[in-house]
Amino acid sequence: MLEIRGLTKRFGGLTAVNNVTAHFEAGRINAIIGPNGAGKTTFFNLIAGTHAPSSGQIIVKGEDVTGMRADQIARLGVARTFQATNLFDQASVLDNLIVGHRLRTRSGLWDVIMHTPLLKREEKLCREKAEAALEFVGLNHVAHRLAGDITQEERKRVAFALALATEPDLLLLDEPAGGVNPEETVGLADLIRKLVDHGKTVCLIEHKMDMIMSLADKIIVLNYGEKIAEGTPAEIRSNPLVIDAYLGAEHAEA
């Protein structure tokens, strides 16, 4: 699904991601962990096309996407969520989601001014996709609430729904459970499992180790921009390098 070869990103004198090679299989949950400033979000920004890599290759579904713009990569089926989601707070949740499927439509200015059948059809389609995505993340009941009035956990779910509305194969989730309570974290982990059950591939950055250890099929550990370990949760937990750099002693025992 996703193949990373020798990926490097330098910002001036700082090497944020250094020669990372990794392979992410389809239909799996892959986690990227590491201390703050290890280059995790930069790694996502490179895959999603927000930044162009300094060197290395990114291959999505067999296609080399290195150097493509973010919107082009999104159209190829890579969706992402951010640590904080900027919604239009004065519109309803559903209204916020409709634009999510825009990338799969093609009506332009002429269709808009003339109100052509194509536009009407595509607007209906986008609304349906938004409703389906909302249903999938379990937020039907807040569809008509203003986006500014929903809780942090609901915001996280709306971010998932927005990503889903683009009909992706690969989802990059940046701290999907950041800032929500433990009970809600369990719910979000279930939702991530449900994504995979529905044929999606997931890549996530997270600091909540309990969640990661029970959820991930594979973990990649970054430290100072370099990959220091890769493996199953059990392997990562007992890796002395990882314990030293990030986990600390208590997680190693668990």
Binding site: R80, S92, R102, G187
Partner: protein, 339 residues
């Protein structure tokens, strides 16, 4: 307030605008209103790039001047007909807007605003200094009124009033279509977060450029009408303070709404006019009134009303939904249950 909602509200406003010439005895009021409508068309355009797409363009007055000068110069120096010149004004603004947009939209936030402020000033300088073409400080005189057709004339104050009103209604209607479509949603997505919009597959550069070009075409056509109604042009039209007037109209009325910029363009000049009796002191009153508005009605008049209404509508729809599906709604959503 109920009456002012949706189609009924618009129909009422249009009816009011239609009978307005018969309610005032003085043609002065009529021409003030006509000019307000012209600036309203320009403000509608500014609102598309700034209110809906989030790019604070400060060259807008300059583009209005380009449109006005296009009509002024083509009709007087080159003997083009008014309507051909008018279409050319829109086209010229579109082309110049594309070039300026392609360059300036590479910048974001304040840098974009400062850059466009400079572009606006360059437009002013070009008009003032390029005397061979623009007549410089002398200005353009003797611009013909819009040519009449089908038994209509646009020489009289009344004729011009209705002509401009038709363009304003048309402009507002097209703007309504644009912002409430998938295209408009793309613009709003860019305003909310460029990073998120891009991640959703919206091509940033192309989307912003389209909004910019459309917005300056509105400015250009408003300028064209200005030339045909005022019939005299000076470089002052391109001065920066005109841009800031448009910004003020948009903010007072309600940024990111259709009715807001229109209402602002009518109310603000009316307010300054009615303070005229204070002479030199009028700005002492007007300034604080503006500041109070921005503090207590930050979304503008229309924006504040719409926001309240949206909140109420959301509550009503939620109630309706809960009533339809009591079982689903009563199960309190803890994270685990609905995953």
């Amino acid at each position: 307030m109920k009456l002012l909602q949706g189609k009924t509200g618009w129909a009422l406003l249009i009816a009011l605008a239609l009978v307005f010439p018969y309610m005032v005895s003085n043609t002065y009021f009529l021409s003030v209103m006509t000019q307000s409508y012209i600036f309203a068309i320009a403000a509608l355009g500014l609102n598309l790039i700034t209110g809906y797409t989030g790019q604070f363009n400060l060259a807008h007055g300059g583009f209005m001047a380009i449109g006005a000068y296009a009509v002024g110069l083509l009709t007087t120096d080159y003997q083009w007909g008014f309507w051909t010149s008018f279409v050319a004004a829109g086209a010229i603004c579109g082309v110049v807007g594309y070039l300026v947009g392609a360059l300036s939209l590479r910048m974001t936030g304040h840098v974009f605003s400062i850059f466009t402020l400079c572009v606006g000033y360059i437009i002013y300088l070009l008009i003032e200094k390029w005397e061979d073409v623009t007549h410089g400080a002398v200005g353009v005189m003797g611009i013909p009124a819009p040519t009449g057709f089908g038994g209509l004339e646009f020489e009289s104050a009344k004729g011009q009033y209705y002509l401009v009103l038709v363009f304003l209604i048309l402009g507002a209607y097209i703007m309504h279509r644009i912002v409430h479509s998938l295209l408009g949603r793309s613009f709003v997505a860019v305003r909310n977060s460029e990073a998120l919009a891009e991640a959703l597959g919206i091509p940033l550069a192309r989307t912003k450029r389209l909004a910019f070009v459309l917005s300056v075409i509105y400015a250009g056509l408003a300028g064209g009408l200005y030339a045909g109604v005022v019939r005299f042009l000076g470089p002052d039209l391109a001065a920066t303070h005109h841009t800031f007037e448009l910004v003020m109209f948009m903010l007072v009325g309600g940024i990111g709404t259709i009715l807001g910029p229109i209402l602002g363009s009518i109310l603000v000049p009316w307010l300054t006019q009615s303070l005229q009796f204070l002479q030199d002191y009028r700005m002492v009153v007007f300034g604080p009134v503006l500041i109070l508005l921005l503090i207590f009605v930050p979304n503008g008049i229309v924006g504040t009303i719409l926001h309240r209404r949206a909140r109420r509508a959301a509550a009503l729809r939620e109630q309706a939904q809960a009533a339809n599906a009591p079982a689903a709604a009563s199960s309190t959503p803890t994270g685990a249950r609905h995953a």
